[in-house]
Symmetry: C2
C-alpha cells in the first residue's frame, strides 16, 4: 500500500520518516503516532470494501494498517481479531441502559485483546527482518507475542514478573518462547527488556514503546465501527455510543482512540464515540491525571488483583488521558471487589472475563449508577481477556460448590438445605 509515511511524537509533534526512528521520540521520549497517508488510502479503498470483506480477522483492515501483505493464512497468527459483539439487554436493563453490548476479546487466538498488537508487531518484525522479538509482559501481551510468533516460526523472548498468574506463564512456555521471569514487578521487567533489546539487537514489542502495538489495537475500533454500521444498516442513527475500556498502561485506550481518529480522518465515521477509561483504584495513575486536568502522569505503587492493568508507571499515559478528554469521555475507578462482582455478572450472561477484562464492566455499572450515561445512549464494554487466564481471581468472585457423596440420599439432603 505504501500508506505508512512516518511517525509523529504525541508530545512535541515532531515528525519522523519511517526508517528514522523505531520506538519512542528521541527528543522527549513521547509515544509516537503512526502517520498514514489518508488520501492514498482513500484512493484505493472505501468503507464498503471493508464492510464487504470476507476476511474473518483483523487483516480485513490491512489497507489502513502500516504493514503490507502479511501472508501466513490458516494460522492462529492470521486469525487474530474480528471478535464477536454480544447483546446483553438483561444486564443493561438493571441500570436503565437498553442497548448494552460486550465485545468479547477472549475469543482471540491466545484468549486476550493483546493478540491484536502482537499480530501487527510480528508482521512488522518480518518486514524489518528481525531475528528476535522481545517483550515485557504481565502475561497476556507475552502470551500473545509467544503465540503469534510460534504460529509463524518467529523467535520470541518474554520477560514477565514471577508473580504473573500460572495460566499465563504456562501459555508462554507452551508456545515455546524463551521465558525469563524477573523477581520484580512489570515495571522492572519493562526496563530490563529495553536494555536487553538495545544490547542484543532484539526487536522490542514493549507496549507504550513500540508504535506498532497501538496500530494493532486500533483494529478493535475498526470492528466497533463495522459492528455499529451493520446493526444500523438502513436506519437513521439516532443514538450515541459510549465505549468502556479497562486501562492499565494506557495503550489499549490510545489504540482505540487512534482507530476512531483514522476512520474520522478518512471520512468513514461522522462522530467519534465517547471513550470511557476504567482503572482499578489501586492502579489509577492515568485516572488521577485526567481528574487533575493534566497530562503529567505521576507513578503510583500499584495494588490490584487485576494483574493485567496493575502498573506503577503507565507507559502510554498521555495519549490515554487524551482518549477520554478529546472524545467527551471520562475516567472511572473501581475497587477490586467491584471487579469481582463484574466477573460474576458477566458470567451470568455467558461471558467469562479475567479481572482486567471485567474492570470495564465494573466501570459501566458505576457510571450508570452515577448517572453519567444517558438512557438513549448505547454502551459497548470491552472484555479484554478470558477468565481462564486467572482462575484464582475467578474463584474469589463466586461461592464454592458443595461436595456430596454420589447418591440420591446425599443429594436430597443437600437440596433440602
Amino acid at each position: 500500500m505504501g500508506s505508512f509515511i512516518g511517525y509523529r511524537c504525541s508530545i512535541c509533534q515532531h515528525e519522523y520518516l519511517p526508517g528514522k526512528v523505531q520506538y519512542n521520540c528521541p527528543h522527549d521520549g513521547g509515544n509516537l503516532d503512526v502517520i498514514l497517508d489518508y488520501p492514498t488510502i482513500q484512493k484505493y479503498v472505501g468503507p464498503h470494501q471493508i464492510l464487504e470483506s470476507k476476511e474473518p480477522s483483523l487483516w480485513r483492515y490491512l489497507p489502513i494498517l502500516p504493514v503490507s501483505e502479511v501472508g501466513y493464512y490458516d494460522t492462529p497468527f492470521h486469525r487474530a481479531g474480528y471478535t464477536p459483539v454480544f447483546s446483553t439487554p438483561g444486564l443493561g436493563k438493571e441500570y436503565g441502559i437498553a442497548d448494552l453490548w460486550i465485545k468479547d476479546e477472549s475469543r482471540n487466538p491466545t484468549a486476550s485483546f493483546k493478540d491484536r498488537a502482537s499480530a501487527v508487531v510480528v508482521a512488522r518484525a518480518r518486514e524489518i527482518k528481525a531475528d528476535v522479538v522481545v517483550t515485557a509482559s504481565t502475561g497476556n501481551a507475552g502470551a500473545a507475542l509467544a503465540g503469534m510468533a510460534a504460529a509463524i516460526g518467529q523467535k520470541a523472548v518474554i520477560f514477565a514478573p514471577r508473580t504473573a498468574p500460572p495460566a499465563k506463564i504456562a501459555q508462554l512456555l507452551v508456545f515455546g518462547a524463551q521465558v525469563i521471569l524477573v523477581d520484580g514487578n512489570y515495571d522492572s521487567a519493562f526496563d530490563l527488556t529495553i536494555q536487553a533489546s538495545q544490547e542484543f539487537g532484539w526487536y522490542c514489542r514493549n507496549t507504550g514503546y513500540n508504535p506498532f502495538t497501538a496500530e494493532g489495537k486500533k483494529t478493535a475500533a475498526f470492528e466497533i465501527w463495522e459492528w455499529w454500521e451493520t446493526i444500523h444498516q438502513g436506519t437513521v442513527k439516532p443514538k450515541k455510543l459510549a465505549v468502556f475500556v479497562s486501562v492499565g498502561d494506557g495503550n489499549i485506550i490510545s489504540g482505540i482512540h487512534k482507530g476512531f481518529k483514522d476512520l474520522y480522518a478518512l471520512g468513514w465515521l461522522d462522530r467519534i464515540p465517547r471513550i470511557i477509561g476504567v482503572q482499578a483504584e489501586g492502579s489509577a495513575a492515568i485516572a488521577n491525571a485526567f481528574r487533575q486536568g493534566t497530562e503529567e502522569i505521576i507513578p503510583v505503587s500499584a495494588n490490584t488483583l487485576a494483574d493485567s492493568i496493575s502498573v506503577d508507571l503507565p507507559r502510554d499515559g498521555v495519549r490515554a488521558v487524551r482518549a477520554a478528554r478529546e472524545t467527551n469521555g471520562t475516567y472511572i475507578t473501581v475497587k477490586d471487589n467491584e471487579i469481582l462482582g463484574a466477573i460474576a455478572a458477566l458470567g451470568k450472561a455467558g461471558i467469562f472475563a479475567e479481572p482486567a477484562g471485567a474492570t470495564s464492566y465494573a466501570g459501566f455499572v458505576k457510571a450508570a449508577q452515577a448517572g453519567l450515561l444517558n438512557s438513549d445512549e448505547a454502551v459497548l464494554v470491552l472484555n479484554t481477556g478470558s477468565g481462564l487466564k486467572d482462575v484464582k481471581a475467578a474463584m474469589q468472585a463466586v461461592h464454592e460448590a458443595p461436595i456430596i457423596e454420589p447418591n440420591m440420599r446425599a443429594l436430597k439432603q443437600y437440596m433440602k438445605k
Copy 2:
C-alpha cells in the same frame, strides 16, 4: 423445517417417533440416532446454500439439525462452532505428511468442543420447554452447558467429580450454574445425574444418553466437509482425508461419524473420510473393543491425566467402535507422556491444547511413525479444548522458566549458561 422424524436404536434398530422417547432405547438402552428426512432437506436446501451462508456459527447447518429456528442472536449461545482449521506443514513434515491440519475447538465460546453439543441440547430444551437442564461432566461439557444456558437465561445444574481441574470448576461457577461436586468419579456423577433428572423432572444432557449431543457434535463434520470443499474449490480432489479424534466416552467420534453419514445420505459428500479414534492407554475401553473386533465394551479402571477422556465405562462405545470400523479407520492408544509431548508440539505451532485435546495429535504422531498413513493422505487433527483449562498438565509438558533479578548483570549471567 420438520425434517426431524424420529429416532433409531443403534443396537436393535427399533425406530421411535420424536415424542415417544427422550433418551436411550427403552428396550436395550442403546444410543439413539436421530433420523432426519433427507428428501425433505434436499427439497429445501442444497450444499451451495450452506457453503455460501454468512452465519459464522454452527447454526449455518440449521436445516440439517433436529431443532427449528433458534434465535438468541448476538449471544455466546449463538456463536458456538465454526472454528478455524489451521495449516501446520511444519509439524507434518517431520512425519512425512505434507498436508497436516488442526481444527481448533478451543475457539468455541467456553473454549471446548462441547459447546456444540450444549448449544443444540439447550435449543432442544427451549423447544420442549424444559425448566432445568442437568448434566454430569468432567468439566468441559458442564462448562459448555453452563455457558450456553447462561447466555439465554436457561437454568442449569451440573454434577462434576470434585477432582475436575480448578479452571473447569471456576467456569461452571462463574456462569452461574448450580454446581454440585461429587466425591467420586465421572461415572458416579453420570449415574446420579440420571437418577436426579428422573426424580426432579430435569432435562438431562448427559453425553451418550441424550441423542441431541451427537447431533450438536456432528456439526464439526459439516465444518470439515465445508473446509475440504473450500480448499479444493475448482480443483480435482486427489487426496483422501484422515480425521483424528480423541475419544473418551465415544460421543464426539460418534457425532462426527453421524455428520459425515448425513452428508453422504444427502449426496453432498462422495466419500466419508476415515476416522481414527485416539484413546489414552489408561482409558481405552473403546480401543480395546475395536481391537477385539467386538462391540462389547468392557469397563476399565480409568487412569490418565487427560481428564476429559478419562472414563471407566464409555457411554457411546458401540457407535464409537463403528465410527472407525465403517470408515476404514482405526484406534490408537497413547501414553500420558506422549500426550504431554503433543501439548508441547502443538504449542510450538501456536495452538494451546488441554491434554484430551492434544491426545488426537499424539495419536497422529504414533500412526505416522507406525506407517499407518499414506504420504499422499491429508490429515486433520481435532483439538477439542483449550490448554487454559488445565494449567497443571500444561506445566508438566514444559520446563519451568528461570527466575532472575531484574537487571542486566543477572540477565547476562543467565544467558551465559
